[in-house]
Amino acid sequence: MNIWKISIQNIKSKPLYTFLSIFVLTISIALLLGIKQLKNAFKNQIDHNLGKIDVVIGAKGSPLQLVLASVLHLDNPTGNISYSKAKKIAKNPMVKMAVPISYGDNYKGYRIVGTTHNFISLYKAELATGRYVKKSMEVVLGYTAAQQLQLYLGDTFLSTHGLVENSVEEHEDEFTVVGVLKPTQKVIDRLIITNLESIWDAHNGDEIHDEHEEHDHYNVHHDNEDKEITSLLINFKTPRALFTFPRRINKSTNMQAVLPKYQLEKLYEYTSIGFKTMSWIAYLILLMSCFIIFISLYKMVKERAFYLAILRTYGASNFQLIKMVMYETLSIAFSSFVLGLLLTKIGLPHMLYFMQPIYKQSLLIGLPVLEILQIALLIFATVILSVLLAIRPIITMNISTILSHEK
């Protein structure tokens, strides 16, 4: 026999109260953890997908659209730029690495990106199997793309025109899978990577085949001398270039140079308002749950006053009675926290599973242990505060009065 055993028996003897307390607290904890995890995953996506890209150069238009299209591969590009002009920019002494990207086709909704080998190194991706692209119409698949499309080495497929899945505008030239990348949890996981020539060849073939057909794709080239690309991703040798280089491009060319970090930070700031609001709502629900626990505890302590007084006559100290109430509440809080954590771990991926067709990639990453501990600490601190407020009647208990009145 010990105080733990009595506390556990007390919990068991009030199944409805226990169930409701655990239920309310679990929901609020799951909500708080879920929002934190989503916010974290979103921030992580933005931070990680930037890779080593300092500047994106593309056609004039919305800077955010250019970044979303060229870095996160979510939106439509602003237009095309001349490949020869892009190559001239790439030769600038401030440029450490320049990666041209060109796209306009997809396979079952997964974007096909024409680029150079440096694109893979931007994301520090490695081959899981096969080899890199050597010639036109060969592709290397990102991990998620390979998994979802069930494509393996040697498999072939026909791309379709545009960035959205459709079966109407299929190209005639087949792509062949020559490699699959290891997972990186970055945007490259959901891309199909080929060389620039493949994109040009695919569209060149179509143009020869049907010269008059009107296309709205983004990598149309007019002749072999002036090929076009969607954008140029640049990594500088020195951060100083960030101040002068984009300004010069924006001033002296018909292209725009955009700082993706700045644009994405801005995007994150906009979206974080929503996350902050949701977080505050979750904190409010948590506070209300603790308030409900406080009210229930206070009521319970009052109702149990006679038994608590009797325990004092048995020789129990005030501290032992407080421990008993504390153990009961902490057991409820601990169970709720574990359940809330499980609910987040199991429920959130299921919820996001239905969103995956939009993003073509699992967005979730686990919450850092430190953040989980912080939330746990906050919950336990709030619960302990509720207990301390609720046990006041125990501390100020007049045993004689209680025993006399309850006789």
């Binding site: 028996q9 068991k12 038994y307 032992q320 006789k407």
Partner: protein, 209 residues
């Protein structure tokens, strides 16, 4: 041994001051304290149990002046040396009969002897309900459990507050007999405070407040 000297108590200033006669009880002596409602019977019992502190006077139990003990020490002293019987059930509702007796020993900081609990339950005719919850016990069983809870830790003094008020004549006799028997077995002083004159014949020593 229990001794009180010039014991008085006042709940609040300007309220009635209760004055109590001196009591001296040698080992194993019984005492019946009779009195009408509102005369201070329960106040006296609470003073003897150390639940209330007297306004003046002295209470000595086995040569320990209990009013000089600090709160924590008084809790421990009460838990070890005093057994209280109330009219109302005073077991923990979430625990069964057996666990209640274990809890009583635990809070008295005494070693938990399951055989001793079994023997006592057998003696009080509660063996068959040892695993039952408190709410399922009859009035008579509850009163016997109250007695068990007051003697399981071998106290020096058993204080019973109106133990027979709600019982019929037959059960009244049984409860008093059980209390006396348990007090004898544990070599404790038994003090019964009541307004129930049916029990007068069972006690040699009695005072009326």
């Amino acid at each position: 041994m229990l001794q009180t000297e010039n014991l008085t108590f006042q709940y609040k200033k300007n309220e009635t001051i209760f004055s109590f006669p001196n009591i001296t009880l040698e080992k194993q002596e019984d005492l019946l304290i009779l009195g009408k409602s509102g005369i201070g019977k329960t106040t006296l019992l609470h003073l003897l149990a150390g639940i209330l502190k007297p306004t003046s006077g002295k209470i000595t139990i086995n040569n320990v002046d209990i009013n000089k003990l600090k709160d924590h020490a008084l809790d421990a002293f009460r838990g070890k040396n005093i057994g209280l019987v109330f009219q109302k059930k005073h077991a923990i509702p979430s625990l069964n009969v057996f666990d209640n007796l274990q809890a009583r020993l635990y809070f008295s900081k005494m070693s938990i002897n399951n055989n001793k609990i079994d023997l006592l339950l057998q003696e009080l005719g509660l063996s068959h309900v040892k695993n039952s919850k408190i709410n399922s016990l009859s009035e008579g069983q509850l009163q016997r459990l109250n007695i068990a809870l007051s003697v399981i830790h071998n106290p020096q003094i058993i204080l019973a507050d109106e133990p027979t008020s709600s019982l019929d004549d037959q059960n009244c006799k049984i409860v008093i007999a059980l209390l006396k028997k348990q007090a004898q077995e544990t070599q404790a002083n038994l003090i019964v405070i009541t307004h129930d004159h049916r029990v007068k014949s069972s006690f040699q020593n009695s005072i009326t407040l």
